[in-house]
Symmetry: T
Subunit: 144 residues, 12 copies
Amino acid sequence: MRIMVINGPNLNLLGRREPGLYGDKTLSWIEGELRDLGSELGMVVECLQSNHEGELVDIIQRAGRDSQGVILNAGAYTHTSVALRDAVLSCGVPVVEVHLTNPQAREEFRRVSLLADVCAGSIAGFGWHSYVLALLWFHHRQRG
Amino acid sequence: MRIMVINGPNLNLLGRREPGLYGDKTLSWIEGELRDLGSELGMVVECLQSNHEGELVDIIQRAGRDSQGVILNAGAYTHTSVALRDAVLSCGVPVVEVHLTNPQAREEFRRVSLLADVCAGSIAGFGWHSYVLALLWFHHRQRG
Amino acid sequence: MRIMVINGPNLNLLGRREPGLYGDKTLSWIEGELRDLGSELGMVVECLQSNHEGELVDIIQRAGRDSQGVILNAGAYTHTSVALRDAVLSCGVPVVEVHLTNPQAREEFRRVSLLADVCAGSIAGFGWHSYVLALLWFHHRQRG
Amino acid sequence: MRIMVINGPNLNLLGRREPGLYGDKTLSWIEGELRDLGSELGMVVECLQSNHEGELVDIIQRAGRDSQGVILNAGAYTHTSVALRDAVLSCGVPVVEVHLTNPQAREEFRRVSLLADVCAGSIAGFGWHSYVLALLWFHHRQRG
Amino acid sequence: MRIMVINGPNLNLLGRREPGLYGDKTLSWIEGELRDLGSELGMVVECLQSNHEGELVDIIQRAGRDSQGVILNAGAYTHTSVALRDAVLSCGVPVVEVHLTNPQAREEFRRVSLLADVCAGSIAGFGWHSYVLALLWFHHRQRG
Amino acid sequence: MRIMVINGPNLNLLGRREPGLYGDKTLSWIEGELRDLGSELGMVVECLQSNHEGELVDIIQRAGRDSQGVILNAGAYTHTSVALRDAVLSCGVPVVEVHLTNPQAREEFRRVSLLADVCAGSIAGFGWHSYVLALLWFHHRQRG
Amino acid sequence: MRIMVINGPNLNLLGRREPGLYGDKTLSWIEGELRDLGSELGMVVECLQSNHEGELVDIIQRAGRDSQGVILNAGAYTHTSVALRDAVLSCGVPVVEVHLTNPQAREEFRRVSLLADVCAGSIAGFGWHSYVLALLWFHHRQRG
Amino acid sequence: MRIMVINGPNLNLLGRREPGLYGDKTLSWIEGELRDLGSELGMVVECLQSNHEGELVDIIQRAGRDSQGVILNAGAYTHTSVALRDAVLSCGVPVVEVHLTNPQAREEFRRVSLLADVCAGSIAGFGWHSYVLALLWFHHRQRG
Amino acid sequence: MRIMVINGPNLNLLGRREPGLYGDKTLSWIEGELRDLGSELGMVVECLQSNHEGELVDIIQRAGRDSQGVILNAGAYTHTSVALRDAVLSCGVPVVEVHLTNPQAREEFRRVSLLADVCAGSIAGFGWHSYVLALLWFHHRQRG
Amino acid sequence: MRIMVINGPNLNLLGRREPGLYGDKTLSWIEGELRDLGSELGMVVECLQSNHEGELVDIIQRAGRDSQGVILNAGAYTHTSVALRDAVLSCGVPVVEVHLTNPQAREEFRRVSLLADVCAGSIAGFGWHSYVLALLWFHHRQRG
Amino acid sequence: MRIMVINGPNLNLLGRREPGLYGDKTLSWIEGELRDLGSELGMVVECLQSNHEGELVDIIQRAGRDSQGVILNAGAYTHTSVALRDAVLSCGVPVVEVHLTNPQAREEFRRVSLLADVCAGSIAGFGWHSYVLALLWFHHRQRG
Amino acid sequence: MRIMVINGPNLNLLGRREPGLYGDKTLSWIEGELRDLGSELGMVVECLQSNHEGELVDIIQRAGRDSQGVILNAGAYTHTSVALRDAVLSCGVPVVEVHLTNPQAREEFRRVSLLADVCAGSIAGFGWHSYVLALLWFHHRQRG
């Protein structure tokens, strides 16, 4: 089973960007952990990041062809991108929405998710553990 | 480590209530699974359900004294109860909000959660696996 | 045929509470009339009242097991209770929403009904005759 | 006692128009039933239909002179016509608002009734029985 | 003269719950102070607390029969309970709304009070002195 | 100079309809007064009333060809008719909007006028004197 | 194939009404062009106009019986008439909504169409060519 | 009979301020005309202007003691001043609201009048004739 | 201890202005009572009133220098004045907001207070006793 | 005459993406048809697609230099992109907005078009025929 | 060239009022700096402050006669004063809106500026440098 | 000191795009002026433009590493891009928001800035001088 972990804008700054809010782990450290956990569970985990909405649409379209599931932290585009929503709707594999922090506890404009209702499920607020839980779900689901 | 799993109104009907939406597992079957998984992981899992908002406030207050964490599916009260919100704020242990379905994909009035921003995190849309992921988080977190 | 007549908060004060608005009949007088009309029509009419949202949820759940229809005046909870709405959705028997006065002619917050769209039908504004009409409907419907 | 049953726009299509929603009875069949029930109860029932807002205003004004009560299904004009509302306010006899389906369970713009708060009462959701219940109310009320 | 002091959900946690916000006095300490001040002024002060909306409705209904005035801190239910509002409207004795903090200075959803416009008056923001001022008002009012 | 006085729905009931609100003068009495004042001032005053939106559109279109000015009390259609607005915009003669009462002091939905911003001016709240003032304006304006 | 071209309120004034906005072609000129193009394409084009909402409902109901398609410019009623919407929903033949100008580029209240989502399609902003394109669509569609 | 004509902020600039919108008459020219017309009709007309909200409140309070009627163009304060509204409510003589232009045809924030519903009537859009019509109303009203 | 009692627009009319609503006590009578109660309690009470927003800002700024506390009934400016709000924020002494009536029970625009969340507390609905309770609070607070 | 047909995000998936909604034609099939129809009509049709908002801005800027008209299906960016709107405003050639489905009949957020009011016209709901009609318009318009 | 620097309510407290937010410079210190910089640049800078809305209107009207430009920090009146807006519109010289802090980063009601769209430009968030930049603009603009 | 001047979508068209609104200077001319002024003041000014949201995020992230300040005209993305907002929040150097025109004086959707409250300050409405003033601020600030 191949899982794509896709991160959106500014998440490449993790570890340096408002660490009090987002934690002190860098994105590459988190991606390493997920790849390791993936191999333990017999899954291939591929990790991608982009600041470009259009590139993220391209990547999700490709994930529909090349993987069995997506873990998506769309960052700021969660709240504004109908294009990503349409890509999720069309890609044909289950997509799990994850967030490091709980968007409900932040600015008003972060409380709207254009993705939530087209994803298989949502996990928010557990820091980098949000990704871990999403991966565990793909594992559990696979087992039946 | 002692975890309380608290279910709100109408969740006692699980398995019979709109099974196409909520699945065909009964609440007692789910509670059994969680207690079993809990013992595997070395945790004591106590399960409670009530249709009464006031009783749920009482239970959460008690959970603050008697447990190290709460898994809360407040059902319909998620969207209307400031009293539960205040109880969560006051109880002093981490509370994880779970939902079987994704409230974002349902009626307008279910898109507002009065609890989300005072909980440690939220997990929604994975059916009874939502509870499992919450329990796994308490386990991972405990390990460091 | 067994019909449950369920009254919500403060309706136990009928006859004393703002009689200019709600009329001078007490709840027990109305319940007596409905039981009498029921026996005339060959129906058993059971009457219950509670000020507690959770108890009303319990009662509606029970009505789904013990009766063939519900006449529900949820009073103030009509406008605020998602929990009652979910109970009506789950109970499996037709529920008729009744009101003594017409909520549309009152305060803004009484113009929203969380129950109307999940009930079989609504009858409002005819004083205690609202209950009578609801009972007559169950009778007519039964006849075909 | 003379009762006028007034139907608004597109109700002349009943039986052919979305029968899954509105039922398979034609308007003339329903009008026949109401006239028959009326004579049983010693009432004269006159039935009128128009697609024209202005004509409906004329008819309601006349009903204030020629009848003792009105059963009004204003159809689409329920949600948009201040003119009908003013006619109801001015006509001087009790008007009962009826609907075949429950407008609360349909499109957003059907949830507003400009008539509800100036009518004696409202009955919605019982198919053609909604008219029957309205007629029974005039009968009961007459008896005291 | 008998005055009932009624406290709503989570106020039983006073002294422990967010002391920076609500102060360090426990509810029983405040109730003691009020009973003492009451006897000084020749009034009997009875104190009750509940986390249950329905129970608070029951208590206010009873206060209408057994007391000459109510001091009500409905806590979270202030903002959501139409049922409590109806109970206040029906109970027949003057009710004074009190709050420890000023709800206007807090979250958006705490700025709406369903009780304010049916109470005799409102006192907010003075900590436990809010109750004292309410009691003094009953005393002054009694004197003329 | 020829002025058309056009009255909309339910204004044919003036004198009988809520006299406490609209006064006890009938429409034909007012029309007589306006015709008399018109001849005094050397103007021909033609008066028309209809309950039909479409007919009022027809009349305003004709007024654009046959008169030098319009005094329009569109009644309920003031608040709902884009068609009348378009007719006023197209008719090519000045239209003065009049109201017997002040719509700003009535129901919410009467506070919106779709006509006000396309009329030459508005006069409201002076009872039947509102028509008189409008006629005087056409007279003054003619004089320069 | 028989197509009805139905025009709503004030469109009889085309050519004279705000020509800078709506163009200088009269309605009868446009209707002539459409009839000519229709015969070229082997279609019978029937043209009707009314300022009356009710008459337009009657016409659309008749179009459902007598034609294979409708081209509808409902003018001002586009934005206010639920009755026309219901007639379109019930008439059983495809209806194409056309506008001379683009309602999105005009006043706020013209941005809402009660018809758009029940029509087969919408064409707006091309002046009288909007009607031509609609006719061409019926032609293309017929060919397959 | 003594009438006070009260003008609010920036109306002292009339004639120079946006003459295309407000006309080329200065305020003192208009005041002269009104005093002349007043003496013709046997009325004393006193004219005052201020840019200060508080001073306008003082003036209206005094008008309640020293005059039999007020003609008020509150300018910008029409849309923002609850204090002027309260002064009008308290002054005890009829107040007529006038505007040179039609506020409904201008910016959004000018469409709200805090004065309209507490004034005897409103006249808007006739340039300086708006004041004349108001004066004529006091004259007509006085005559019976 | 020196307390300033500051009254805003139209409160100089107390006793004459809508006495059914505001009571029949004049402002100077109330000020006398407060000065007397003040001396009893060992406090100097200074009373000021103005209809001018700017003057009230000046007075509150001065109160910050010359007194130990303010009792403020800002009247209509409560709902519209950001300037008074800023003055309260800056003055450096505790300000208690008082109202004779309960603004929550009145017009929509009186339900917003721009002052409430920057004042030490609010007291509303007790007629002139609202001022008395505010004064008592300064006394109690002083005692500790 | 050279026409550019520009398609936005996810339209490269046509034929595979929700075919029940969008039809079973692929984008390249539609582009072929348009190029063929273009040559028949003596027009050069150039087709481009991108998932990237910025790239679409670049393309529209270029279309302003290299073509005489644009047919634009901006897909999801229709509802969110002010940048595309500005590009359309600046490009200097007529742009026709097309949609396969009718956005008015879909989710709330698809009902807002940031492009509609700056385009020459809009065509929606006719599947791939929407493009054909747009092309025919450029042809007709060219002929005069 | 003569420039007027006009400061609104509570800005006379600068240096003492919330220095963490507004800085520790007093208004007279800032005015000194601006006068000095003015003379360096060959401009006369006149500085005025008032807490009174009406006085500020008077001052802006005078500035239109006596100066070539205005630098306006209207403080709290920025968000509430239509009267100041009208004065700016009428004064005939360019007005630059300045703020010490960025109102967009503060309370909701500070995000609306009634002045921004009638000023030549806006400068916000640079502390007392905001005034300096405005002065530099007048200088640059003068040079061409 | 190194300052980056970053321009967003469609600003590459300056000089050709709606010159009546944006002026006739091209972007490269403005960039030249800024580089010249920069060297005069001893600053290195680097200028970049992109139509791509993602590229702008990349550039701002780089500016956080390579410069001491940013002058940002995000054009259309000002109103829609949470991603740019997050980039500004994370970049660690002061960002000044500039606009050629005043967005407050334009379309509704341009009145919302997602950047304003996270920037050091805002300058709008001065044409290309807005950039100059921003540069002068960096200079003044540097001097102390």
